[in-house]
Assembly symmetry: C2
Homo-oligomer: 152 residues x 2
DNA sequence: ACTGATTGTTAGCAATGTCTAACTTTATGC
DNA sequence: GCATAAAGTTAGACATTGCTAACAATCAGT
């Protein structure tokens, strides 16, 4: 028995399967993290279009609290990923995929927000927390949150 | 009135104050995001030390589902930030700061986890969701979560 | 329609986090 | 105690996300 006989990798591992449930969980979280920004953008773009008829980089930047060039670069990525379309010096539009992602995000956001408020949290803190939490709740948890809101 | 008169920056803004509450919320989330990895590491290191007497990069890597060189580089950052100490080719130790951060993380993790389970979530999903959520809950929300668990 | 203000883009820098490949050190087992 | 296996480090690549500075395009008001 080796000196440091922890669980991982005691057997060779056929190819690359996750070592334990913990690793899977963290990989999930990492995945979520890389999606978060895209979700924030898409959600915000949908909102801007809804409220003001268009989504301009300058407004996106103001709402997110970052500089315009940062937005520009990130929008390039979103376009590459097929979530938005854009033309130079023009405002931004959502693709079908982008729209459906936005809708999905909005739904999650609303459920989390209403849940936190139902729990008794003040609306400002609820908004802040919802912003962070919404990207990390499973469908199962959302269902429970919804149920809680309905029944309260 | 300009064509696109959205709320931001209607007045010049004395120096750099956040444009709206939304921007503040996002900045908070970005802050949280940059802390998340450090928190995950520190929490895991504490756990490894507790369970096995030491925290080795190879075990950290296995638990997080990343490669050892990634861990090595991140540990350098944590050391730079004063959360851990390390000597070449040796395992890792927490500083006082690291220990207290780990404790704090563990506390949040436990509260979130117990809360989700109290709500009726299965333990596996609860664990996954808690992993993502724990970095984004305010103290106020934690208090409500705790209260809910107690009273259920 | 010109001019100046606003908006958007591009280029270039820095930090982070991921990887692989190559190398070094430490540990294990005979 | 030596050879091999396991663990750790370093270097270098790449993507992402932030920034500033410089430049380009569009818009607004006269």
């Amino acid at each position: 028995m080796t000196q440091h006989d922890l669980d991982p990798q005691t057997q060779p591992a056929t190819h690359d399967r996750p070592t334990d449930a913990r690793a899977e969980a963290f990989q999930g979280v990492r995945e979520a993290r890389s999606r978060e920004l895209a979700e924030d953008y898409v959600e915000l773009i949908a909102e801007l279009i809804h409220d003001h008829g268009e989504a301009r980089p300058v407004d996106i930047a103001a709402r997110l609290g970052v500089k315009v060039p940062t937005v520009s670069k990130t929008l390039d990525r979103l376009a590459r990923e097929g979530l938005i379309t854009r033309a130079k010096y023009r405002s931004v539009f959502l693709t079908d995929d982008g729209r459906s992602l936005a809708k999905e995000c909005r739904r999650r956001h609303e459920i989390v927000l209403r849940f936190l408020i139902s729990l008794g949290l003040d609306p400002e803190t609820a908004e802040r927390d919802a912003e962070g939490i919404e990207h990390h709740v499973s469908e199962r948890t959302l269902a429970l949150f919804s149920a809680f809101v309905s029944r309260s």
